[in-house]
Every structure is written in C-alpha cells, then in structure tokens.
Amino acid sequence: MPDAVVLDLVVNGESIQVLAPPHLTLLEVLREKLELTGAKEGCGEGACGSCTVLMDGRPIRSCLTLAVEAAGHPITTIEGLATEEGLHPVQEAFIQHGAIQCGFCTPGMILSAKALMDRNPQPAEADIREAIGANICRCTGYAKIVEAISSLSSNREDGHE
C-alpha cells in the first residue's frame, strides 16, 4: 500500500490536515477520515450524484475526485451549509416543499441546487432541471425538488416565473 501523504484541505471553511494514502477519493476522506457522512456513495462511479460536494463553489463528484486533487481548493459539504442563523435557503425550501423523501439524494441535490442559485439567481425551469440533471432521485419524480428550487428564484415575485 502506498505511503500516506499529508493533505491540506479546506472543508466548510476550516483548514484541516489529513494523513491519507494518495489513492483515497475525496469522498472516502470526507466520510471516513473527517466523519462527514452527509455525502453518500450511491454508485462510486460518477453516475448518481449522491456524493456531490462543492469545490471552489462548483458541484463535483467526490467519488471521482482524488482527495489530493482537492488540496487547497475550498470544499463545501452539506454539513457546511447551515449557519448559526439557521438553514441555508435551499435547505429550507427543500423542507417546506416536500422535496425530501428518503433523503439519500438530498445532500447532493441541495448542493447542486445551491451552486446553480449562486451562479444564476433567476433560473428557468429548464436550467433547474439541467443543474440537477446528474443527481438521481428515485423517490420524488423531481417535481417537488424543481418546485423547491423555483421558489427561490429572485424572479418569482415579479411574476416572471
């Protein structure tokens, strides 16, 4: 087995040094070394999106990303979304709109949605579907998820929805 290396990670705003073999994926390091189990392994091969986290604000598949690649790039996991003031608006919208059933896809889905809202605060429905197009949800049929994200569009009140 290859020797462990020291990784300088920035996770949810915190600088962390992790000692890990270089072949570990970011998902493995998050779940097993940092005990951040919000990111899930649904497939381990880039197909399901349940392992989605944000790297430099962009959604990535942590199962396909080596932890060494993430060194130095700010990582946001689902655990890092809520603040002392409360839940992130995307989290709140998912709860209020019934967008969460079993919840296994939810962390990845919420992070994909957050990344979308950060770069496009007025997404059209097609933008939303595309932004979560690589996050598989087997429970909801996506309808309530799309509703939840649409509800956050800054467009809504203006009747442009």
Binding site: H97, Q101, F104, C139
Partner: protein, 778 residues
C-alpha cells in the same frame, strides 16, 4: 378534494415532514454512515458461476492474512434455509452444496479494513463442479432441463390457479374474443441507497443490527431463526433508509453474515454493498410472459378473461406465492370480472432472486389495458367508455371474494379524462402524438397471520412531552410524518413536539412492516387508537379537576378544555402531572389488525377477504414519438388516485410524482435488465436508465378521497396505484401515437422504430373510423 379539512388541525394538511431537517443537513444517518470503535469491515465472496456444485472451500490462506479476524463459510452456519412461507424455504444464507446464480453467497470475511478484507476474499479457494444452467422460462420448463432445486421438477417453483364462474361458456358466447401475449424482462428498484448493514454484539450475547428494511420486526424474526437466537436477543434498530419499493422486505444474507461475523469476532462489523452487489444480490423485479384471452360483448363489457402468467423467479422463492398472485389480484380489483381464470407459474432459473416491486407485473397490467384498447377499436367503442363499463364500483365483491368497500375509481377516471382532455384528444392529435389511459388498484395489506397487526403506545413525560412508540418504519415515503400527524391531532400537540420511538425491535411492538402498502392502514390506525386511549385517560383526570363531563372535553394547543370554553381548561402538562400524583399515570395503547380472511392462502385457498381496503388509480399520459429515432417525449401526465383520505396532501402528491417516474417514465420507456449467460449486463446506473430530472414530464396529481370507513381518518394507501396505472397509460399512449401495439415492454426506441418501419401497424388513430393505418401512410 371532498373532505372538509377544517375539522382537523394537523390531519389533512401539507405540513413539512419531521424527518426532513436531519436529511437536509446531512445529519440523518443511513446504515453505511455508522461507525463504532473497533469496527471491522465485512466482505462477501460470491459465486462466479450461474450453477455449480461446491466441492471444497479452502480458507486457510485467507485466515492467515494479517488483519483478517474471521472467515466464514456454510460450515459455520446451521444450514438453515429461509423462506417467506413454510413451503418456500429454499435459500441458505451461505451455500453449502450448490450455487444457483452469479452472485450467490459462498463465504464472508471480516478484517480490519476494506483492502485487507478484499485481499482475503482473493485468497479463498473454492473448487466448483460447473453444472448446466437455465436462463429463461422456456429453458427452465423444458423436459430435460437441469434442475435449480432438485425437489422441483421442471423448475416449477410456485403455481397459483384461480377459476371463477364459467369462463369457457362465456368466451364462447362473447361477441369478440382476443388472445394476446405480453412480455417484459426483469426490472429493478435502484433505490438510492446501496444495501449496507452494521451489526454490533454486546457482552450479554445480544446483537444490534442496523440495515435498510421494510419492517424491523419482519427482519428480526428470520434473523433470529437463522442465527438460532431468541428474538429478544436480535435487536433491529431504527435507521434512515434510502428507499425500498418492495426490495427491502426480506432478510438479506448480508444481515446474517454481518451478524455472524460480529458474534464470532465479538466486534462491530459493517458490510456495505457496491451498487452492483445491491442490484444483483438483493432482489429484482420478475421477468414475465403473460397471455390474456378476453371475451367482450358488443357494448364493451368484458364477459370473461383467461390469463396465464409465467414468471422468471430466479434462483430462490423469495415472495413467490405473492408475486405470482398480485398481478392478477390488482386487475381483478380494478375491473369487474364474473368469469375469470388465472394460471400463474413461477419458475426457477439460474439468475438473481426476484421479489415484489412497485410496478410488479407490468406485462400483466399493461397487457390488460392495451388489450381493452384493441378490442374497443375493433368494436368501434370509446376506450374511456369501455373502461367505465368495466370499472369497479364500491360495494362489489371481487372474483376471489373480497368485498370492496370504498372505491373512487370512476371518479379517478372522470377527473383524469377531463383534466387531460382525453376525449377531445383521442384520435384527433397530430401525427405521432398519442394519449393513453391506465387503471389500477392495489391492496392495503395482505393476510399475514400473526404478523398482520400493528401495536402502538403513547407515553408522557412529566413536562407533558409526548412519545409515540410504534413498529412502523419509514423507508422514505413519510411514515414517520404520518404517525406524528395522527398523534398530534388526537392529543392536541404540535407535530414537531411529538417524539418518535419507532422501528426498533427492542422497544417497539409487533408491526407488519411497510410493504404491501399497509403502514397507514394498520400502523396509522394503531397509533390513532393508542392516542385516543391516552386522551381518554387524560380526559378522565381533567374532568375530575374541572368538574366537567369527559365527553365534553377537547384536546388542542397543548390544553384540555371544555368544548366551546377554552378558559375552562388545564394545560396538558398539568393533567399529566395530576395523573402522576394521583397514581393513575397515563399510558395509551392501541392495536389494529386489518380485517382479512386468515383462511385465505396464496396457493392452497386463494379466496376470501384479501385486504380490508383497496386503493384505486387512473393515469392519462400524452406522448410524442420521433419516428426516426423512436424517442418518446412525454408531454403531460395526469394521475389520480383514491387514497381514501390524504393525511398530508403534499406527501401524497410526492408519492404520485415518484410513482409516475418509476412506473411510467422508467418502467415503460427505459428500464429493463439485459443478460448474457446468467450475468446481468447492466447492473449500475451507468447502463440501467432510471429517469433523470430532464426526462420528466409535467405531472398533475389529483387526489380523490372516498373516506374509507376503516382507514385512519379514512386513509388507505398512496402512490402504488399510480405507479401501476402510469405504466399502463404510457404503454397505451405510445401505441396510440405510433399506430402499433408493441407487446414487449418497456417501449424502447429500437422496438418503436422497428414497429414503425417493419410491421403493419394496427392501433387505431380514431376509434370507429375503420381507417386504422391512415396516418402512418401519409
């Protein structure tokens, strides 16, 4: 919605689910998320062959590998065989003599980490004598077929025969008779969470188990059996569960292997399946071949139907007797049938094991509706009228003698037809567009003998806090919220203040589990009764204090007061404390066992009350087909279901929408397994196509409420009738669009293109026009 919702404070309202906050923040723990001090990693060695005799297993090198703490083979087990029914006990948790499919369990290891465990698997040497195998229903039933189980000649596993009325006479007298064969290969759950199990032994010989389940009590019993432990020592704990859809009902060999490894090493062990393992070794949907012979009178009434169904069951029985029967039962509930015959056969093959799935029997159900469309066309009748003529009405009895109480099927049809514009569109849509209608009905539970009922308890803390104790499990559908809303309503406390102690076999009492769509009906009723029992006791204490009649009291907003005079009341906490000090502490109890005929048995006596209530659904789908590529674009779906009463409309709608995705969009357009020599060719989400957000059409959910007299607040079941009817609607819509009835599901582009290019299309564009091929020639 029909029911006046103002009479309730919490029931019938779209409240956010109590479990959603933990899930939105990543704090909800699923089985694979658990870790314990000194925990070991478990891995399973599986058969690489579809059929082989095990000659010898040598584990010496694996055992010697540093870091390996235990290696187990069939020799370490009691050899016990598991089966859902006493007559279907055919599956060992580790095979001792033969392996019967690629993936069958042969050995397991526990080691300090995953790499060591995997290395150890590679060091186990198994000598096999490879046997000839059977991979299809035809091969399995052949005269000289190799036998998957030696005691089942011709690989016939389970047979169900039903014969009611005078089928042959009625067919002879029918105006029109058609025979069609419909087929569908295996489909799959693809629940989001791959199977994972954690087992932790304690010093007293107990074992705690966390795993995805559709009923912890239904897990604990077989697990105790195969471990040869009393049930009280096997504690299946509550854990977040990433979907079930019928695929988490039975004990999994992983539960047993993980527990045995934990007991042997005295350390916690975790086994996490890969996606591929989850697909291959948990359960799959059955492949099915169905032939319907249906006779109709001139007006479109079905005079008789004779159906045969052959199911590819894979290597073991699983829920076989139920699986064979349910496709027939759903349809006998949906449509009136006085003369009906059913011959269902489940065969063993050397493929993975098949169980119940949300759209179980798609070939059967889609075949029924598609054939109705064909016959309506032949007779020049409107397909909606034909369905209405044959649709189930309340107060009727099914062919196998189940009384149908509440039934809103006609209302579902009418609403869906109106909302989708079906009558205006059918036969009048532009070229390559079509619309289809499907109807279905499912049960709220089966006769499950001693495990058919649910028990609940309500206890209070001295500060007035309420805890509900119930065996009901939530696999994602919202059962926790259902329980909380019911208890909150009865006791007059806010739902988010109700503490839940559920799905833990050490503390919760018997419950049938969440499969067979029974949770709301049995578990919800039990919680309602327990809460009412607690409230009655609270009212007695409060009535003494208030010098009022208990019958005049109400519980609302954490207070108990005289109806109409909220000032004449006491805080709930005060009443709880009074009860404590008076030596009559409040503890509510309730149980509910659905009234079914316990003499009914799937094979030996398929007759009698199957379920206390039935839900009904109708779905219309409108599609557009690209004739060049065979791609189907779904333009619109309208789905209605009589769910009795929507305890939480938002949750119910979520069930409908998920059902359309799984049943219609996936189940009828893309989802199937492909095989080569017993190997599944598409075990992962890269190649098995489940619907994505970009695929889904707009869905209009319509909740129909019939207020079932026996369901909690009138509720029955939500969602499954939609999953099934959506599949049927999609199938009929594509036929309507391309002018050809494709009878092999799902309707993938290759089949659609082939049907358009090479065969004489026969589906009508307009009923009664007599010009069936017109639009394709243009």
């Amino acid at each position: 919605m029909s029911e006046d919702r103002t009479q309730y404070k919490y029931i019938g309202r779209s409240l956010p689910r109590v479990d959603s906050r933990a899930k939105a923040t990543g704090q909800a723990r699923f089985s694979a998320d658990l870790s314990f001090p000194r925990m070991l990693v478990g891995k399973v060695l599986r058969s690489p062959y579809p059929h082989a005799r095990i000659l010898n297993i040598d584990v010496t090198r694996a055992k010697a590998l540093p870091g390996v703490k235990a290696v187990i083979t069939g020799q370490d087990t009691h050899g016990e065989k598991w089966g859902v029914f006493p007559y279907t006990r055919d599956m060992q948790m580790l095979q001792t003599e033969k392996v019967r499919y690629v993936g069958d369990e042969v050995a397991a290891v526990a080691a300090v980490d995953e790499d060591t465990a995997l290395e150890a698997l590679g060091l186990i040497r198994v000598d096999y004598d490879i046997l000839p195998a059977v991979f299809t229903i035809d091969e399995a039933l052949a005269d000289d077929a190799p036998l998957v189980h030696e005691d089942h000649p011709r690989n016939r596993n389970v047979e169900v025969n039903i014969d009611v009325g005078e089928v042959d006479v009625a067919l002879l007298g029918a105006y029109l008779v058609r025979t069609d064969t419909f087929t569908a290969p295996e489909d799959d759950y693809f629940m989001a969470e791959p199977y994972a199990v954690c087992a932790r032994p304690d010093a007293d010989g107990n074992i705690e188990v966390w795993c995805p389940n559709a009923g912890p009590h239904m897990k604990a019993k077989p697990l105790a059996n195969v471990l040869k432990l009393p049930m009280s020592r096997v504690r299946v704990r509550k854990i977040a569960i990433g979907g079930a859809f019928g695929g988490r009902s039975e004990i999994s060999p992983a539960d047993f292997l993980c527990s045995l490894l934990a007991l042997k090493t005295g350390r916690p062990v975790k086994i996490v399946y890969t996606r591929e393992e989850n697909t291959i070794t948990v359960r799959q949907g059955h492949g099915m071949v169905v032939t319907h012979t249906t006779g109709m009178d001139r007006e479109g009434r079905v005079a008789a139907r004779s159906s045969t169904a052959h199911l590819d069951g894979g290597a073991y029985s699983s829920t076989g007797p139920i699986a064979v029967s349910v496709p027939f039962l759903c349809m006998e509930q949906t449509y009136r049938l006085e003369n009906v015959r059913f011959h269902g056969v489940r065969v063993y093959t050397n493929k993975p094991v098949r169980g119940m799935i949300r759209i179980h029997g798609r070939a059967y159900a889609c075949g029924v509706d598609m054939q109705l469309d064909m016959m309506a066309a032949d007779l020049g009748l409107d397909p909606v009228d034909v369905r209405l003529k044959n649709a189930r009405r309340p107060g009727e009895t099914t062919a196998t003698k189940s009384l149908v109480g509440s039934c809103g099927l006609v209302e579902c049809i009418e609403k869906v037809v109106e909302k989708s514009g079906f009558r205006e569109k059918y036969g009048r849509l532009p070229k390559w567009r079509g619309i289809g209608l499907g109807l279905n009905s499912v049960q709220t539970g089966f006769p499950l003998g001693i495990r058919g009922g649910s028990q609940a308890m309500i206890k209070f803390n001295e500060d007035g806090g309420v805890s509900v104790i119930s065996g009901v499990v939530d696999n994602g559908q919202g059962n926790d919220q259902m329980i909380v809303q019911i208890a909150a309503e009865v006791l007059g406390v806010p739902p988010n203040e109700v503490d839940l102690i559920t799905a833990d076999t050490e503390v919760t009492a018997n419950d049938p589990g969440s499969y067979s769509m029974v949770s709301t009906f049995a578990g919800g009723n039990a919680v309602r009764l327990a809460a009412e029992d607690a409230r009655r006791q609270l009212f007695e204490v409060a009535a003494d204090q208030l010098e009022a009649n208990p019958a005049d009291l109400v519980a609302r907003d954490r207070k108990i007061f005289v109806k109409g005079s909220p000032q004449r009341g006491l805080a709930l906490a005060k009443v709880v404390r009074l009860a404590l000090i008076q030596g009559r502490p409040v503890m509510g109890q309730g149980s509910y066992s659905p009234r079914v005929d316990h003499g009914r048995e799937w094979v030996s006596n398929p007759e009698g009350q199957l379920s206390e209530a039935f839900s009904f659904g109708a779905t219309a789908a409108e599609v557009e087909v690209d004739p060049e590529t065979g791609q189907v674009k779904v333009l619109n779906v309208v789905a209605a279901q009589d769910c009795g009463y929507a305890l939480n409309p938002m949750v119910v709608e979520g069930q409908f929408e998920g059902s359309v995705a799984m049943g219609g969009q996936g189940g009828m357009l893309t989802e199937f397994h492909a095989w080569a020599g017993g190997h599944c060719l598409n075990p992962t989400q890269l190649d098995y196509q489940v619907p994505l957000a970009v695929d889904m059409p707009p869905i209009t959910p319509i909740i129909v409420e019939t207020i079932d007299p026996n369901g909690p607040y009138g509720a029955k079941e939500a969602g499954m009738s939609v999953a099934m009817s959506a599949a049927q609607a999609y199938a009929c819509a594509v036929a309507n669009a391309i002018g050809h009835y494709i009878k092999d599901f799902p309707l993938t582009p290759d089949k659609i293109v082939e049907a358009i290019r090479t065969r004489a299309p026969r589906a009508p564009r307009e009923f009664g026009s007599g010009n069936l091929f017109d639009h394709v020639k243009k």
